[in-house]
Structures are given as structure tokens and as C-alpha cells.
């Protein structure tokens, strides 16, 4: 008990943990009674049983949701790949008229958007949901229903977006939707892109929250940060990146949709807007996104390479450096997509320099892999073949990246096929190949069967050679001046032969994918069950059960090394016997252990929610709220929004943070743990914290927009424009501050055993938050947002604050109801602590918003 983690907050010096921790070697070595073990296994098995028949679709377990998620992402990838084939056919010969210019625009826009938003990012989430729990010996993700909700959102949003191409109304302004082309584009295409993908982005953030909490709080006892699997480090870094990268795009989407729907001129230069603002917001998302895609894929390599070398990874700390360093520096690169927009040269220099610097941490992990292979006893296998091919291709893409990061070279190559070649080399090498390697490597974990070695080799060599045949010539056609996104081109410019070669190569890639998909879908019928650890891996996922058992792990082990399977030959047998923690479920309910962040000390037993339809219903209503506005149907959208909120409240009320029956429970090995936690010990508190970090980033992007306009335009705010009513802004600020005080006070008096007073404070707080929302709205009623970007951006900030105040009031009322009906008590107060945390963030944001609305007009004019 020497290493209480202060990172966990003050409450973690744990007076409540009873019994012995850490366990002694004798305790772990003591054999289990076989009878008892069998009875426990039966109870666990019933608790974790997957529903059968049509109820199968109400599952929320990570093994089911992860598989659906991954397969759906692969389907979208195949569709986007078919679009690429059409694009290549059209470009095979000059002056081709296979598809029209308009359809061609839809095809390349949808190819890019679908590959990025419906495949690359979701595949990280889906694979992580699928394998992270087994990598860290957890039974499931901390919030399985949230994963299910995220999946259904992804499915609905994805079908909506990609389906639009079959109705000839797909977005067609390119995957980065530059205004004014995209804002002026007639038809619903741009709206489908904006609303459909915003919906999916929200699901991505939900997945990021869950994955971060999973990596930080659901590790097995004893798995300190210096011995956790490298994959978990990457998940942590990538989750953190999503929190800072996606929100600027969501803020941008909000502004963009306000312009499309209500003609608020954020990006219209004739009314004080600025198209470059969109480019900034998009690429602040867009460049980190490249690394959000790359890092988790390379994380798979970090798991495969030690297994192939049959030794621990060389340079564990160096790989952590590499992941964290890349995560940071990747946020300083976005302007290299905007080198030709006329920014000051010295600014271009900063981004050029950072783009060169990011190569260093990116390269370090590749050298660590090579070093591991050099000192190990390599047993080459199929996944390693894919990793090796991927690294070769990625390195070539990285080298052209170094070229493009040099601004004068980019001036020449910008928007040519050279860029197309570069980005496909990085994405295929950095993402597609490692992901396929991961599919081959982890398939024994998922289907309990191995995929075919022979078909795998065929598929590899077809895709590898096809890839180079397709994309290597694009470097040349690009340097010869062929621009991206042209639907056809005149002959005789030296481009003809290279385009024809590229088209042939594309079909070779397609053949390779066909073989891969055939094997993926049919290997279950062709092969026998695999041995448990077919590759000889050393990490916890290879303790999985063959055939499948739904409990994740039979018992949650006590871990003391990076490769426990190699270091402790008895581990699997003892896990199977139920020797370790939580080997039983007396009540036949789903549970897992939540541990501390740094040293993974056991903190409490977290109940895990089981199968339900409510996530599907909530996702359907949420989908309605996003999809109806595409067709300007605002009433149905509003109704769906309200129903979505009601559904989510029902879901939370019925199944989360209920007071437990007993305060402590036995988890085995002489340890008793609390069955409830609130505040910074609990997983829910961390989820709120992380969500609000993302929310604050989106808000910061709106505030950034105000100052961006001010910097870039001499007349911002324009002379003679109306300003927000200072008095009302001040009142709104005061009300928010008081509402925050009421919430904070309610938490304190509730803890000290005065729930009555807490209820009064919560009720008052809710009224104050609604008053704040009203005052802030009233303060901008004189502004006419259609006339200029200045009133428009201030009104957008008001909308943002109004929605957040209303949400804050809803949360206060939720706690009030909880306290009234006995869900929330002085001892079991997780909801109130989470809501207080929300209010810390909201109060700070509201004060900044009030300052922006009230003081900026005075200071900037």
C-alpha cells in the first residue's frame, strides 16, 4: 500500500479497502477446489451469456459490438473502394465519358469522406473496443452500452451518408468541403456531409471517452503504467488526440450548417466572413486525424513484433516517447495543407519546421521495431509479412511527406497527383496494411480460428504489388502537372500511360481485397479451432478461452510484468481455475474491477450493464435529430431530439450509479472492495471529465473564431454594428456563477448529511441556469446574424451557451429527482459529483463567453 496515487485525487488514500493487497505468492499458488471452481464458472457464464435469436442484436458486450463495428467499417471501406475503382476507370484514358463530371465529383468526395470517417477512424474504435479489454484482462469496456450506442449511431449515420450516392445527391465539394464551393453547392449534398458526419463524430468522441477510461481505470490489479501493453499507451494517446482534434471540426460543422440553413455568413467574405476560417478549423482536425489513424495501426505492429521476435520489445520507453511526442507535434502541422493560402512566410516556416520535426518521433518507433527483430529469434508469420510490407510503403510515404513539408516544393506539387500518391502511401502503409495484419493476428481471438496462410500470401502480394503499380506512377503524373479532382484530361500531356498503369494496378489491389474478404468471411467453415496461443504471444489477450466464453477472463489476474504469459508459466492455469480476482459472481451480475490510474491498485467493483434495446432506440432518435435537418424538417428533428434525451435519461436512471445492496463485496484472494464509488475514484467521473475536455475544445474553437476574424479583418467588429446588451450579458454571467455555487453547495451539504438543503439548492440552481440561458439569449436579440459575421459568431456562441445552460439545468433536476426518490444519497452521490464537475467546466466557459460578448465589443472597437 506504499504507492497511493495522488493522481487519483485526495479520496484514494483508501480507508475502505479491506483485506490483503497485493496478494502473496503463497495465496496465488494455493490450488482451487475444482467443485467450487466449476460452480463459479457456471454462475459467471450465466451472467455473461449472449442473448440468442433476434435478441442477439440487443447485446452490448464488447465482443459482439466490436465485431459488428469492425465488419460495418470494412463494408463501408469496400464501398468506398468500389468508388475508387470507378474513379480509376474514368481516368484510365484521356477524354473518357464513362461517368459525368458531377458523378465524378460525388465519387471522389464520397471516396475520401467514407475512407476517413466511415473506415479509418471507426476501425480504430472498433478494433480497440474488440481487443482492449482482453489486452488488459478486463471483462468488458467500462461502459458497454455507450459502445453499443456509438455503434448504432455509426451504422445509421454511415448508411445515411454513403447511401446518398445511390440517389445522386451525395456531397461533391471534396472531402474537406471548402467554402465557398461547399456552402454555395445546391442540393442537400453538403448538408448530408455536415450533419451525417457530425453525428458520427459525436459517436467517435463517445468511443474515445470509453477507451481512455478503459486504458486508465480497467487494467488488472498490479499492471502499473510501466508494464501496460503498448497498445494501451497508444489508445491513451489517440483518445487524447481525438478529444482535441474532433471538437474544432464539430464547431466548424456547426458554423457551416448555420450558414447553409440560416444564411449566417461565417465563411462569406462579402459579409465579413472568411473561407479560410473553415480551412483552419478543418485542418486543426484534419492533420492530427492522420496520426489518429496511423498510431493505433502502428500499435498493432507493436503487439505483433515482440511475438514474432519472441522477446520483449526493445525500447518500451522510446515507443511511449514516440506515441506521446507524435501526439503533441501532430497538432502543429495543420497549416502545411494551407501553404498556398498566402499566410506570412515566417508562419509557413513554423509549420514547415514542425512537419519536419514530427518525423523524429514517428521514426523512432520504427527503429525500435527493427531493433526488436534484430535481437530476437524471428519466427516469420503471416501478420509480420503484412507489417513488413506496410512499413516499407509507409517509409516511402514518409519520405515524400518530408518533401511536401518544405513549403517551396509544396507550392509546386500542391493539389497535384503527387499529393494523392503521398497520402495513399502513408495511409496504406501506415493504416491499411497494419490493420489487415491485425485481422490475421487477432482472428484466433475473435473467431477462434486461423485464416488461410496461402490465401493470405496471395492477398498480400496482390495488394502490395497492385498498390505500387497504382500509386508509384502518380508521383510522376503529379510532377508532370496533373491536378487532383479533374474528371478527365486531354491526351498528349505525358499523363496517358501513367494513368492507364494506375488503373490496371487498382484492379490488382481489388483482386487482393477480394481474396482477403473471401477468406475473412469463409475461414470459419474451412478451418478447425485454433490452439489458445497460436503465435506464442506474451500478453494477456492470449489467455482467451477456446471455444468462446463470454466472460472475457475467467478471473482477473494480478500482473507484475510486461509479458506475463512468458514470465509466469502458471498464470493461465490459475486464471482458468478462478484463482485470481472476481472469479465468481454470486448474484450472477456483470462486474469488473476498477483500479487506480498509475499503479492499478484495486479501487472498487464496477457493475457492468447488460443487453438492452435502449441504446438502439436512443441512437435512432439521435439519428433523427441529425438527419431531419438535412431536409430542412426542423419539427421532426426537434421531436427526435427531445425523445433522444428522454431515452437517454431513462437509460441512465434505470441502470447507472444505483445504490448497491451491500457496501462491500469479496473479490477473492482475501480482498474485499467497495461496490460503489463516486468522485475521482469512479469511472463515470473520469468519463465526464474527459467529455468536458472535448466540449471545452469545441467551445475554444468558437472563441478562436472571434479572434481569428478580428486578426484577419481590419473592420471587425464593423463600424456602427449593434452589440450585445451589456447589462443582460452581466446578468447571465452572474446567474451562471450562482447556479454553479448552488450545485457545488448542494454537493457539499449533501455529503454532510443534509439532503433536504441539497435539494433546495439544486432546484434553485436549475432556475438560475434557465435564467442565465434566457438573459444570454435576450442580450443578442438586437443583432441580425444574417448581415455580418460579427453578429453571427456572437449569436453562435450564445446558442452554444444556451444549450449548455439548459443541459446543466437538466442535470441539476436529474440529481434533484435522484435525491427525492432515493437514487442519490449522502453516501451514494456519484451523479451529483459528476454534475458538479460538469458545472465547473460550464461555469468557466460561461464566464469566458460573457466576457467575449460583453467586453470584446468595448475592447476591439
Amino acid at each position: 500500500m506504499s504507492d497511493t496515487s495522488r493522481f487519483d485525487g485526495p479520496s484514494s488514500a483508501d480507508p475502505e479497502l479491506e483485506g490483503i493487497y497485493p496478494p502473496t505468492a503463497e495465496m496465488i499458488a494455493e490450488p482451487m477446489d475444482p467443485e467450487l471452481s466449476r460452480a463459479q464458472a457456471e454462475r459467471l457464464s450465466r451472467a455473461w451469456a449472449t442473448p440468442t435469436g433476434w435478441r442477439y442484436w440487443s447485446s452490448v458486450n464488447n465482443t459482439e459490438v466490436g465485431v459488428w463495428y469492425t465488419l460495418t467499417a470494412f463494408c463501408f471501406m469496400l464501398l468506398a473502394g468500389l468508388m475508387a475503382l470507378l474513379i480509376r476507370l474514368q481516368l484510365a484514358v484521356p477524354q473518357n465519358d464513362l461517368v459525368s463530371a458531377d458523378l465524378f465529383n460525388q465519387l471522389f468526395t464520397m471516396h475520401g469522406s467514407a475512407m476517413m470517417f466511415l473506415f479509418a477512424v471507426p476501425i480504430f474504435e472498433s478494433v480497440s473496443i474488440l481487443i482492449l479489454p482482453s489486452l488488459v484482462g478486463a471483462r468488458d469496456m467500462p461502459f458497454p452500452r455507450l459502445s453499443a450506442f456509438g455503434y448504432w449511431c455509426f451504422l445509421i449515420g454511415g448508411i445515411f451518408v454513403i447511401g446518398s450516392i445511390f440517389f445522386n445527391v451525395a456531397p461533391k465539394a471534396g472531402w474537406f468541403m471548402y467554402p465557398p464551393l461547399a456552402t454555395e453547392d445546391p442540393g442537400p449534398g453538403s448538408d448530408i456531409w455536415l450533419l451525417g458526419l457530425s453525428f458520427i463524430e459525436v459517436a467517435s468522441i463517445a468511443a474515445a471517452v470509453e477507451l481512455i477510461v478503459g486504458a486508465l481505470k480497467c487494467r488488472p490489479p498490479g499492471m502499473r503504467v510501466n508494464i501496460m501493453p503498448l497498445y494501451a499507451w497508444y489508445v491513451l494517446v489517440v483518445g487524447g488526440m481525438i478529444l482535441f482534434a474532433f471538437p474544432p471540426l464539430i464547431a466548424g460543422d456547426l458554423l457551416f450548417e448555420l450558414e447553409r440553413s440560416f444564411d449566417w455568413p461565417f465563411f462569406d467574405p462579402t459579409r465579413g466572413g472568411d473561407p479560410l476560417l473553415w480551412q483552419h478549423l478543418f485542418w486543426i482536425f484534419g492533420h492530427p486525424e492522420v496520426y489518429i489513424i496511423f498510431l493505433p495501426s502502428i500499435a498493432i505492429a507493436a503487439m505483433i513484433v515482440p511475438t514474432v521476435a519472441q522477446r520483449p520489445i526493445v525500447g518500451y520507453s522510446w515507443i511511449v516517447l514516440s506515441a506521446v511526442g507524435t501526439g503533441f507535434i501532430s497538432f502543429g502541422l495543420w497549416v502545411h495543407h494551407m501553404f498556398t493560402t498566402g499566410l506570412p512566410n515566417i508562419s509557413l516556416g513554423f509549420f514547415s519546421a514542425a512537419s519536419e520535426a514530427v518525423v523524429i518521433p514517428t521514426g523512432i518507433q520504427l527503429f525500435a521495431f527493427v531493433a526488436t527483430l534484430m535481437v530476437g529469434r524471428v519466427k516469420l508469420n503471416l501478420p509480420m509479412l503484412w507489417i513488413a510490407g506496410g512499413l516499407a510503403i509507409f517509409t516511402a510515404g514518409g519520405l515524400t511527406g518530408v518533401m511536401l513539408a518544405i513549403a517551396p516544393f509544396d507550392f509546386q506539387a500542391h493539389d497535384t497527383y503527387f499529393v494523392v500518391a503521398h497520402l495513399h502511401y502513408t495511409l496504406f502503409g501506415g493504416m491499411v496494411f497494419p490493420i489487415i495484419a491485425g485481422v490475421y493476428y487477432y482472428m484466433p481471438l475473435i473467431s477462434k480460428k486461423l485464416m488461410s496462410k496461402r490465401l493470405g500470401r496471395w492477398s498480400f502480394w496482390l495488394i502490395f504489388s497492385g498498390f505500387n503499380i497504382t500509386f508509384l506512377p502518380m508521383h510522376l503524373s503529379g510532377l508532370l502537372g496533373m491536378p487532383r479532382r479533374v474528371f478527365t484530361y486531354p491526351g498528349g500531356l505525358g499523363w496517358d500511360i501513367w494513368n492507364l498503369v494506375s488503373t490496371c494496378g487498382a484492379f490488382v489491389i481489388a483482386a487482393g481485397f477480394a481474396i482477403f474478404m473471401f477468406d475473412l468471411l469463409t475461414h470459419g467453415r474451412r478451418s478447425a479451432l485454433t490452439p489458445r496461443n497460436p503465435w506464442g504471444g506474451g500478453t494477456l489477450e492470449w489467455t482467451h478461452d477456446v471455444p468462446e466464453a463470454n466472460w472475457g477472463v475467467r478471473s482477473i489476474p494480478y500482473i507484475t510484468s510486461r509479458y506475463p504469459l512468458w514470465d509466469d508459466p502458471n498464470l493461465v492455469e490459475r486464471m482458468d481455475a478462478g484463482r485470481y480476482y472476481l472469479g465468481d459472481s454470486a448474484e450472477e451480475t456483470r462486474e469488473t474491477i476498477v483500479t487506480s490510474v498509475i499503479d492499478a491498485r484495486p479501487l472498487y467493483i464496477q457493475p457492468i450493464t447488460g443487453p438492452t434495446w435502449i441504446t438502439l432506440v436512443a441512437a435512432a432518435f439521435t439519428g433523427g435529430a441529425f438527419i431531419f435537418p438535412t431536409f430542412h424538417m426542423y419539427w421532426p428533428a426537434g421531436i427526435c431530439g427531445v425523445l433522444a434525451i428522454c431515452t437517454i435519461i431513462t437509460w441512465l436512471w434505470r441502470d447507472t450509479a444505483r445504490p448497491p445492496k451491500t457496501h462491500m463485496a469479496d473479490v477473492g484472494l482475501g480482498l474485499r472492495l467497495p461496490t460503489y464509488a463516486s468522485g475521482s475514484r469512479s469511472a463515470g467521473w473520469w468519463a465526464m471529465w474527459i467529455t468536458m475536455l472535448a466540449d471545452s475544445t469545441a467551445f475554444a474553437s468558437l472563441i478562436f473564431s472571434v479572434f481569428y476574424y478580428w486578426t484577419a479583418h481590419p473592420d471587425f467588429p464593423p463600424a456602427g454594428s449593434a452589440h450585445p446588451e451589456l447589462m443582460l450579458v452581466a446578468l447571465a454571467g452572474i446567474c451562471v456563477a450562482l447556479a454553479w455555487g448552488a450545485t457545488f453547495g448542494a454537493r457539499e451539504v449533501n455529503t454532510h448529511g443534509r439532503p433536504g438543503l441539497a435539494r433546495a439548492l439544486l432546484g434553485g440552481g436549475a432556475l438560475l441556469s434557465l435564467a442565465a440561458a434566457s438573459f444570454m439569449t435576450l442580450s443578442v436579440t438586437d443583432l441580425s446574424p444574417k448581415t455580418h459575421a460579427y453578429p453571427a459568431i456572437l449569436s453562435a456562441i450564445t446558442i452554444w451557451m444556451g444549450v449548455h445552460s439548459a443541459l446543466g439545468a437538466l442535470m441539476q433536476l436529474y440529481c434533484l429527482a435522484g435525491s427525492t426518490f432515493g437514487k442519490l444519497t449522502p453516501r451514494y452521490d456519484a451523479d451529483l459529483r459528476n454534475v458538479t464537475l460538469y458545472w465547473h467546466f460550464h461555469a468557466l466557459a460561461a464566464l469566458i463567453a460573457a466576457a467575449t460578448l460583453g467586453l470584446v465589443p468595448l475592447m476591439l472597437t
Binding site: N226, I329, I346
Partner: protein
């Protein structure tokens, strides 16, 4: 002897808060980057002004950032404590190895952040004006 042990125990416990700490040096890089970008925008786009003054003051800020990173790096190197223990990789599941591992990671991140700050400062030396 027991005193020494207790002191060590205390030390390994103290730093448990440091998952944030490994991100301090990269955060300094990020702040430095944003300050450079914002200042150049204000001088070159909004207000005008003497680019030479801007460059010298930003280079001074770079020097401060580098000094701060160097200090963090030195502390992290001490925490890694490789000269006393001879342990470069810290693979054991115990408090001491976790402590030293976090020192090692922070030390490496300080190096990469310093390289980042130097790279980003180079345009200030090479490019003379706004255009």
C-alpha cells in the same frame, strides 16, 4: 537503513501524480508554438510593426522555453536515475521501476520537445520579414 528505505518509499509515492508530468515538456513546446504563430499573425497581419523586434523577442521566448525544458529534462533524468541503478528499461512491476520509467519517458519527451522548439525557432533566424 530503515530511514533510507522510508525515504525511498516516500519518493516513489510522491511522484505518483506524474502521468501529467511527462506531458509538461511537450506542453511547453505547444505553448511556444502557439505564441510564435499568434504573435507573427498580430504583427504581420493585424497591427504591423517592426518584424526585427518581433523576431528578437520571439527568439528570447524560445530561449526561455528551452531553459524550462532543459530544467524539466534534468529533473526527469535524475528521476530515471540510470547512473545509480544501471537499469535502462525498468520492466518490473514495482513502484521503483514505475517511478524511474516515468522519469525516462519524461526525459525523452523533453529531448524531443527541445528539438521541436529549436526547429520552430529556425524560421525566426532565417526569414527576415513577414513576406
Amino acid at each position: 537503513m530503515t530511514d533510507g528505505k522510508d525515504a525511498e518509499k516516500h519518493e516513489f509515492r510522491e511522484e505518483s501524480e506524474s502521468l501529467w508530468r511527462i506531458a509538461f515538456a511537450p506542453a511547453i513546446w505547444a505553448i511556444h508554438f502557439v505564441v510564435c504563430y499568434a504573435w507573427v499573425s498580430l504583427v504581420c497581419v493585424k497591427f504591423g510593426g517592426d518584424p526585427a523586434v518581433m523576431r528578437v523577442s520571439l527568439l528570447a521566448i524560445s530561449a526561455v522555453a528551452l531553459a524550462a525544458i532543459a530544467w524539466l529534462g534534468w529533473r526527469a533524468f535524475r528521476q530515471w536515475n540510470v547512473r545509480d541503478t544501471g537499469d535502462f528499461t525498468n520492466p518490473e512491476g514495482e513502484a521503483e521501476d514505475r517511478h524511474e520509467f516515468l522519469g525516462h519517458a519524461a526525459f525523452l519527451l523533453a529531448i524531443i520537445s527541445a528539438i521541436g522548439v529549436i526547429y520552430v525557432s529556425m524560421p525566426l533566424i532565417i526569414i527576415e520579414g513577414c513576406r
